[in-house]
Structures are given as structure tokens and as C-alpha cells.
Amino acid sequence: MPDFPLLTLGVIAAVTLVSAAVAFSLKNILHCLLLLVVSWVGVAAFYLWAGAEFIAFAQVLVYVGAISMVVLFAVLLTRQHQPEENSPTRAFRAWGALAAALVATALCAAVVATPLEGNSSADAGLSVRQIGELLMGPHVAALLIIGVLLTVALLGAVLLAAPDAPKENFPPKTKP
């Protein structure tokens, strides 16, 4: 009888990796993004598999519900169709892919070479209440810092994306 949890992991990993790989080889940036959403959902499925429900839903909420929307806005607000003169060459892309492949090999080799004792028997699971208590207890400082960070990031983003100067005499009036 096949090992169900490992089979599930394999399926999740395959979906995540394939969608990410295809995403980054597509031309159309919208398709890239939508495939990446699939990949993000795959990561969330992994979290579920690992028993971290809360994190899985937070991942979907933040990545699918928020980040993808922001990216879509960025895509719509910038024109993606550009003249070709500055586009990177094939060699540039090949070098990038090669470097990534090297990193992948090194990482995988390191992982395989390391003896790891996984405590796979434990029925891991952290209830939401436990997470809440941890957040409000030992990790409250980090929580506050994250709160400040998010606020600052929001303000920074607004300032950065705002037009340089208020457009004067807008809207332009035609002479009556």
C-alpha cells in the first residue's frame, strides 16, 4: 500500500514546482502571475499537509488575496509591451538559469548528504489558540515590530507610488 502522506507531498511538490517553472518561462506576464498563484496555493497545500492550518490559510489570504492583487495593479499600471532593444539576450537568460541550476544542485546535495532525524511520528498541530497565546506571550515584541513595519511599509508604498507633484490645472479645461 502506498504511503499516502508522502504521495500527497509528491503531488503538492510537483504542482508547485511545475507551475512555478512554467510561470517563469512564459512571455505573458499575466499568465506568469496566475500560474504563480497556483504555485503559492501549492505552498499553502504543503503547509496544510504539514499540519499548519493557520499558516496555510494566512498564506492563501496574503498571497492570493492581497499580493496577487497588488501585482495585478502594478502590471496594469505599467505598460509591459516594450521595444526590444534593451531586452536581455539568450545568453543572459542561460547564465541566470545555469546559476540557479548550480545553486539547486548544491542545495540538494547538501540536503541529501546531511543526516536528518525527523520526528515524523508526532501528530504535530498547533491550535489557533496556541498560536494566539504564543503571539501575545513570548513573541509580542516581534508582533509589535511587524505591526510597525507594515504601517511604515504601507506609508512608504503610498509615498513612492504617489505622483511626484500634484498635477496642476487638472483637468485641462478647453477654452469655452
Binding site: I29, H81, S87, K173, P176
Partner: protein, 387 residues
Amino acid sequence: MNSANDIFSQPGFQPVHDDFHGDLLELSIGPHHPSTHGVFRMNATLDGEVVVKLKPVFGYLHRNHEKLAEQNSYLASIPYTDRLDYLSSLTNNWAYVHAVEKLAGLAVPERAEYLRVILGELARLINHCCLVGFLLNDLGTSFTPLLYSLRERERMLDLIEELTGSRMMCNFMRFGGLRTDVSADWLARLEHFLDHQFARYLREQDALLTGNEILLARLQHVGILSPKLAVQAGITGPMLRASGVDYDIRKVDQYGIYDRFDFRVPLGDHGDTYDRYMMRMLEMHESVKIIKQAIRDLPVGDFLDPKAKNRGLRPKAGSCYARIEGPKGEIGFHLVSDGSANPYRYRVRPPSLINLTVLEDMCLGRTLADTIVILGSVDIVLGEVDR
């Protein structure tokens, strides 16, 4: 760069570049858009959703009206005038017969004048009902106020159908009077309708919609038309009065017997869409008053001057321009006669077309949604714009 967001590489999607605004989107609104009130098109250039350029395009409904009239006898043109502003054919008839009567020097019997006032104001009620309903529909009310307005319009159309035989293309006015007489029963029913059903409609409309916050937010300070521009562009009718210019041809010319009635002309202070909406609402109240006075004072007599010659009318050579206050503004006819049975030159001054010319000035800097509402508040009928 290879990652082409290729929606913009489609021919129609090439954004217009403009140093001031950056990338703009050209959008053709109409002629089959649900809210252009007919086959009317606007070429809008949008920055996001804000209109930076708007070009009205008309002519899709051009029917050669003026040239046709020059090939016809004077009488034969009356049915064609029905098709100008097909929501209020009675005032079109009136304006045309008014012009011909002026050209040929015909007299109109007292009773006919009163009946013309009643029918003209009824046409105004029908028109304003429609306008208010369609304007609110443009605001996205999923038809509710429109259907309430149309219910009242249906009742008025029933009355008109009974009298003239046709609901919209009435063909009822004649040189020197009307085609038929009006029965006392009909008048009583009209009065009953005004006193009960229509009064209730106006009350409901005021209570339910006029103070609605969303309505206020959508209409107030939107599409402002300055009095100066309004006068310069030749705007007439409720749209001009919404900008605060006191100009009502019923008061200025006092054509017909309008000097005998007690009515007021509402004026707006802001010239925005809300004022234009309210002008129509308030004018409906005044029209009801006029109709009631006319019914009360209606004299007995001829409905058509027996001496008036409708068929084969040959006015003396000359020209004239006559106008009346239509529901949409000044509707005028310029007629030139060379003494023959056909007008030598026949020209309509349509209020819709001229009111439409300031559309871009009102829409610039507003969003697409506002543009639709502003167009709705101008009150156009394409039959009249294109002729």
C-alpha cells in the same frame, strides 16, 4: 522585452501617449451602448477612468428631415415633425404650426390656444417623466424609478392615444387650431389623473429619491455648466435655467396665451447635474398648475379656425422664425416661402443638438460614470439631434 502584456499590442489597444497624462485609453462609447439614449457615440479618451477628451459623434439617425420637408407641402410635414423629438411630438407639432401660422398670418381660435397649452404641458410632463426615469436608470437603479416614471407616462399616453389616435406620433396640430376637439369627459379624466395619480407620483419621487444620499453624492457638483458658457453656447430650456439664467420662452415671448397663466420658473444656482434633475422635477409641478388653470378657463368655441386653409396652403413669399419652449429647450422652425405650396427652405432649431454641444466641457475631468449621468441630464433624443 519579451514579457509582453499583449492586450496593448492589439491594434485597438495601442494607448494614446500624451506627455501630460502618460498613457491614455481611447474608448468608443456607443452607438450601441445601453446608456447613450439612442444611436449616439462619444469618443472618449480616458486617463484611468477620468475623461480627458470627449468627442460626441452623431449622425447615425439622420433621416433627411429638412430636405424632405422642402419637397412636401406645408401640411404634409406635420407628421414628420412628430419624429423629431419622438417623446414629445405635440410640442414639435406646435412649434411647426406656430411657425407656419406666423408665416401665413393665420389666427388661432381661443379654445384651440387653451387646448394647445394643455397638450403642450402634457408633452412636457411626459418628457420630464422619461428624463427623470432614464437619468436615474443611468445611475444604476436597476429600472425601479424608471418603471414608476413610465407607469405615469403610460397613463398620459393612454389619454393622448384616446384623443389623437396615436400614442407617440400624434400629428394633432393644424394650422389655425387642432385636428379634433376635446371632450369634457377627457378633460375630467386628465384632471383626475393629475390630482391623484400624478400628484402621488411626484410626492413619492420627492420623498424617496430627491434626498437620497447616494443620489446627492452622484449628482451634486457633477458636470457643472457655468451660466456664461451656457449663454455663449446657446443652451436653452431646463438646462440653461439650471445654470441660473432666467430665460423661459413662455415668459419671454409669451407666445400663444401664456401670459394668462400663473406659473413660476424655477432656477438653479449651481448648474450641476442635480440642478438639472431638480429643474425637471420642479417644472413638472408648474406644468400641472398650468394644465389645471387651462382646464378651468377653457372657453367654448371652435377648435380649428374655419377660415384656416390647411390643404394647399401657399403662404406669401417671405421668411419667418418662430419658436416655443419645448420640454428640452427652444424648439424653433425657420421657414422661407417663395409663394409655392412647399417651403423653399425649412430649418429646425433642435434644442437637443445645441444642448449637446457643451457635453465635453461638462465631462472633462469627471469619470466615465459621471459622463453617462451628465449625458442623461442633458436630455437628448437622437431623432431631433440628427434629424
